[in-house]
Structure formats: C-alpha cells, structure tokens
C-alpha cells in the first residue's frame, strides 16, 4: 500500500488508484521541453548603437544594424509583415483555443545578413532567435524555433526549423517538408502556428 499526495491509500505504487496522482515525487513540475529546445542563455540585451532601440536578436529590429559586425545592415530587400490569418486559424484550430486574436501589433521584420531564425519567445526567457514573436504577436502554437530564412545568392528562402505545427506556404495543403526550401516571392504568405501569417514584401534594392 502506498499513499498518494491527496492522502488516498493506493494498491498501485506508480499512480494513485483513486485519483491518478503520481505517487513518487512529481517528475518535473514544469513542462519538459522536447529535446533540442533547451533554452540557452541568449545574448544580453543591448542598445542599438545606430538608433538607440533595445537589441534582442542579432540585428536591431528597428533599423537593421548588426552590432556583431559593427556595420550597417545591407540594403533591405525583403520584409515580413505580421498578419493574423483567419483561414489558417480555421484550418488549424477552427474553434476554441488558441483563440483568433482581436488585435495585433504592427510588426515588420527586415531580412538582413545571410541568415535569420524566427520563433516565439516567452516572456522572461532569453531570446535565441533573430526574429522574435513576443507579447501580443506570440501566437502560442508557433514554435520557439519555427523557421529559418537564408540568403541564397540574390534571393531569400525559407525552411521549417522542425516546428511542431508546420510552416505553410500560401495555399499549400501541406506544410513544408523537413529540409525543403521555398524561395520568397513578393506577396507570399508564410503561415504558421494557429493564426500567424507573414506577408512577404520583396523590394528592388534601393539605389543609394
């Protein structure tokens, strides 16, 4: 006979045979993250030397400055605009939780450098992605490492980064396969999580 945390006498010794509570010490009070998602300490929050905004990823989200190289970002060619996508939500959730957001902050990412990862960041946790969805933009069904953008020659491609719920391109009926890349074209919609949609804007390099 064992006794469970609720005080039930139990013939089974793994879980209480009355209420199902674990009888040994609870394995892990917090949810175990799947392998490979162990948060690593991210870079300390700094201030962008170029525009003074706080920098949490590799690049300044406001102006695209790269503090690591100390150089201004190359001319912006591709931007991603956050939208909430009703059709994607209908497909992934349909009803209930996570609910379709009532309002969204205006959020725009510029793709700079050669590579950028995008993911959701929980409040108070270190930022380990270059493009972070936080606060009201943090669709709970977006993975902490959702997808990666990579510059290939004069174009950018996106690939899924092993996300839980997939990265969907435009009206595809299936998410991107592991390892598959999609070259970004102006007007593309990259859908993920429960309702997140990133609208791709490709602008010809500004001549300056």
């Amino acid at each position: 006979m064992a006794t469970c945390p609720q005080g039930h006498e139990s013939a089974t010794t793994d879980y209480c045979d009355t209420c199902g509570a674990p009888i040994e010490a609870p394995r892990d009070p917090t949810v175990t993250l799947p392998a490979g998602e162990e948060p690593e300490p991210g870079p300390a929050s700094t201030t962008c030397p170029a525009c003074g905004e706080p920098v949490r990823g590799r690049f300044c989200e406001s102006c695209g400055f790269d503090p690591a190289s100390g150089e201004a970002a190359p001319t912006t060619e591709v931007t991603l605009e956050l939208e909430a996508d009703r059709a994607h939500w209908e497909r992934m959730v349909g009803s209930g939780e996570p609910a379709f957001p009532a309002a969204l902050p205006a959020l725009r990412f510029a793709l700079t450098g050669d590579r950028a990862t995008l993911g959701r960041v929980r409040p108070g946790e270190p930022v380990e992605v270059d493009l972070a969805l936080t606060g009201a933009a943090a669709d709970p069904a977006v993975s902490h490492r959702q997808c990666e953008f990579e510059r290939q020659g004069d174009r950018w491609v996106v690939r899924d980064a092993g996300s839980a719920n997939g990265t969907w391109i435009n009206d595809a009926s299936r998410p991107l396969e592991a390892g598959a890349v999609h070259p970004l074209v102006d007007g593309d919609r990259i859908r993920m999580g429960a309702w997140t949609c990133l609208r791709v804007r490709v602008a010809a390099p500004a001549a300056d």
Partner: protein
C-alpha cells in the same frame, strides 16, 4: 522483447498520445496498440502461458457451430447448393477432437448434426461423414427468425465445458419473421458466451442487421456476393478461429475518480465501438470483452477519457489499460497520462496515431452515411459524404476502400474529394462497400507527420 525469465508475457501494450493538455482542458485521447506475443516456439497447447495454473485443466478445448439459413429464399439460384458446399468445407476443416454442431435456421432452428439427441459431436472421420450426409439432405423452406438460431447455438455452447466457442452464421435475407426486439434480446443473451462471424449471401440481406450481430459477438461480417466463394470463406473462418490460442481476453480500463470514459473503440484491424459493452469490475474499472486472440495478432484501440481539469504543472494518470487473461491474470498494461501545461505549442500538437484513427473512423462513418443518403434518394448528401470518404481514403493510403468506392462513385479527384455517383452502381457493390467500410489501415511508419513536427 521479454523482461522475465521463462515464458514471455502473452501480450504487450504500447500507448501513443500527446499527454500535454492546455490549462482547463479535460479530454485525453490515446491509441493503445495491443499485441499477442508470437510464441510459436512454445508447446502450442496454449497453456504455456500458465506454468502454475494446474487448477484449470478443463480450460482447453473448443467448440464450433455452423448455422446455415435454410429459409425458402435460399432455394433461388445457386445459394442452397453453395451454402451446403460451404458447410461441408467447414466440417472438413474442423480438427479432430473439436466439439461441433451444424444448425439449420428458418423461422425456427433445428439440429442438423448431431441428430441423435447429443448437443455437440466430437470431430472424427465418422462424425464428419455423418454431418456431411445430413447437410446434403437440407431443403429450403420457411421464413427467417434469427433469434431462434442464436438461442439454439447459445444452448449448445452452454452444454460444453470448453474455453473457446465460435460460430458461423450464414443468411441470405432479412430477419423478417419476428419483431426486431426479439433479435436484440437474443444477441444480448449471447454476448460473451461465443464469438460469431456473420456472412450475407446475395444482396437481399441487411448490412446493419448482420453488423449488429457480428459487432456484439466480436466476429467479422462480410458479403459473399457470389455463392461460389462461400466454401473458401467458411474454411478460412474456421481456420482463423482455430488459430486463436488465447481465448476470452478482456481489456480492463481504470480511470480516476470523477473521470468518464467517453469512448473506447477498436480501430484496427477494423472499427468496433466497445464503449457501451463494458461491465464494472471494480469501483473505478470496467472490463471489455475482446474475444480470442491468435498469437502474433495485434489490434489498436482508441480511447477518450474526460478527467477533471488540472492546474498547469499537474500530472495525472488518466487511464490504465490492462489485458486480463481467461484465468484472471493480468498479462500487460499501458498507461495513459495527462500533464497540464501553459505551453500551447505542446498542448495543441495532435498525436499522429490519434489523428490517423480519427480519420479512419470518420471514413467509415462517411461511407455509411453516404450510402444511407443515396438509398434515401438524397444525392447531394451522398455525393458530399462519399467525396469526403474518397478524400480520407486517399490521404490515408486506404487502397482497398478506394477501390470499393470507385465501384459506387466516379472519383474525379480523390485529393479534393470530388466524386459523382455512378448511376450504374450495382447493389452488390454498395453492400460490399458498406460491409467493409469498418476495415482500417494502419499508420505507415515512414509517413510524414501530418502536423509537420519532427
């Protein structure tokens, strides 16, 4: 595979689920795969699993009863001669020493063999020859009252002290000589006492009626559109029955106080809803009869339990599935867990086995409701439902069902579920599709996760 010395456990069980629930969520889904260990190297007596159970020497042995429809309608076409050939083939297949009887059924049931006042014969060359002569003499006459057939089979089985009891029931028509509740009551009385495979010959029988008997009595149901195929079918049913070395297995399901078992379905090799068949075996446990198992056989079960919602961080055992042998020993168990989390990425993930079988159950329902709508003249609903069925069959790679569907509808595009009802679809094609709608395919191991996870 085995972690004990000596005889391996007769069963293994494995759980597939996403144990993470969002705060406030209360429904736990899991697929449990149960497999009977393939122990062909054993002594083959079936008692190898009970090295110390010498208290049940009578637990061996089996009985087979073949019930043949001899109503007047069997006199049309080649039905009666082929049914007789099938019964003879079944008798040929029954191994020496197995108790058996042949029953003829119309608006009443009577014994064809043995015909000397004994309830069951013991198979031997002489008994087989006697049975086959008696089968040859059968003449079609009378109506159809299936409750009387089941009642007689039940009484015959009750007279024998054997572990495994199996019947084959063949009919060509509706149960039209008695009120429906009579049959329902007879089926209930037979539950758990024997297993019964049902076969309909021709196209004048009711799929729902035979499915009801087969489901309650843990047997298969199928159409034999061509009577010439009956003999092979009977032979293989008797063969499959004799291969079931582990009789009267039960699934015991424990769920915590305050929880409800929303559903328990066998989902492979075919859909069989067990939810309402449980009987309480303890304050928080129910037992579900699974019938006999062949060694090496495996079946999948989808269970859904509603528990009291926990706090984020809570862990709870939501279900304990145990396999209970005929002698009451627990062969193996599988655990179904619930862990509450505020990480929606974890809680919104759907286990691929659960997703796959949810689709397979929907496929069976889409076929059945589509055919019912077609029968009622509702072409629009029939087209939508059968289109959805084609889509689900295509997505899950269910080739057999796609083929059967194609005999009833023209599939323009399986991926989008675009179909047109075929005006030339024959009744046999519709009944075959209906009868086999519950057969499922397993998840392919290398299939990419539909949720896109790793």
């Amino acid at each position: 595979m085995t972690d004990t010395q000596g005889a391996p456990a007769p069963f293994t069980a494995e759980t597939f689920q996403n144990q993470y629930l969002a705060a406030g969520a209360s429904v736990v889904d899991a697929v449990v795969t149960v497999a009977a260990t393939d122990d062909t190297a054993g002594d083959g007596a079936g008692a190898a699993d009970q090295p110390v159970a010498d208290a049940t020497p009578a637990a061996g042995g089996r009985a087979e009863i073949v019930v043949i429809d001899t109503s007047g309608s069997m006199g049309s076409g080649r039905k009666m001669p082929e049914a007789k050939a099938a019964a003879r083939a079944a008798v040929d297949t029954i191994e020496d020493g197995v108790a058996f009887a042949i029953v003829a059924g119309s608006h009443q049931a009577w014994m064809v063999w043995p015909n000397d006042g004994r309830t069951l014969a013991v198979a031997s060359p002489a008994e087989r020859a006697g049975a086959q002569q008696a089968i040859d003499a059968l003449q079609p006459a009378g109506g159809t009252a299936i409750s009387t057939w089941l009642d007689l089979a039940r009484q015959l089985f009750a007279s024998a002290n054997v572990a495994a009891r199996h019947a084959i029931l063949l009919t060509d028509g509706r149960n039209e000589s008695e009120p429906g509740h009579r049959l329902t009551a007879a089926i209930d009385q037979c539950r758990g006492l024997f297993q019964c495979d049902c076969r309909g010959v021709g196209v004048d029988w009711e799929v729902e009626e035979l499915r009801g008997i087969a489901t309650a009595l843990l047997g298969t149901v199928d159409i034999v559109a061509d009577p010439a195929d009956l003999a092979d079918d009977f032979r293989s049913m008797i063969g499959a029955s004799q291969a079931r070395a582990l009789p009267d297995v039960k699934l015991r399901l424990w769920a915590p106080q305050g929880a409800t078992i929303e559903s328990l379905r066998q989902v492979a090799p075919e859909v069989l809803d067990l939810t309402t068949t449980g009987t309480p075996s303890g304050p928080l446990t129910q037992d579900f009869l699974l019938g006999g198992w062949a060694r090496g056989e495996s079946r999948d079960y989808h269970l859904r339990i509603r528990v009291k919602p926990g706090e984020v961080g809570d862990e709870m055992l939501a279900g304990r599935v145990s396999l209970v042998m005929a002698d009451g020993t627990v062969a193996t168990q599988a655990l179904v867990k619930a862990v509450w989390t505020d990480d929606a990425e974890l809680s919104t993930r759907m286990d691929r086995h659960v997703a796959h079988y949810t689709g397979q159950v929907e496929l069976a329902e889409a076929i059945q409701s589509g055919l019912a709508a077609a029968k009622a003249g509702d072409t629009k609903t029939a087209t939508v439902k059968l289109g959805r069925a084609a889509q689900l069959a295509h997505e899950s790679g269910h080739r057999d069902t796609l083929k059967l569907l194609a005999a009833v509808v023209d599939v323009d595009d399986a991926e989008s579920g675009t179909v047109r009802l075929r005006p030339d679809a024959g009744k046999a094609a519709e009944m075959t599709l209906d009868t086999r709608s519950t057969r499922t395919v397993r998840l392919k191991p290398d299939e990419p996760d539909p949720a896109g996870g790793s």
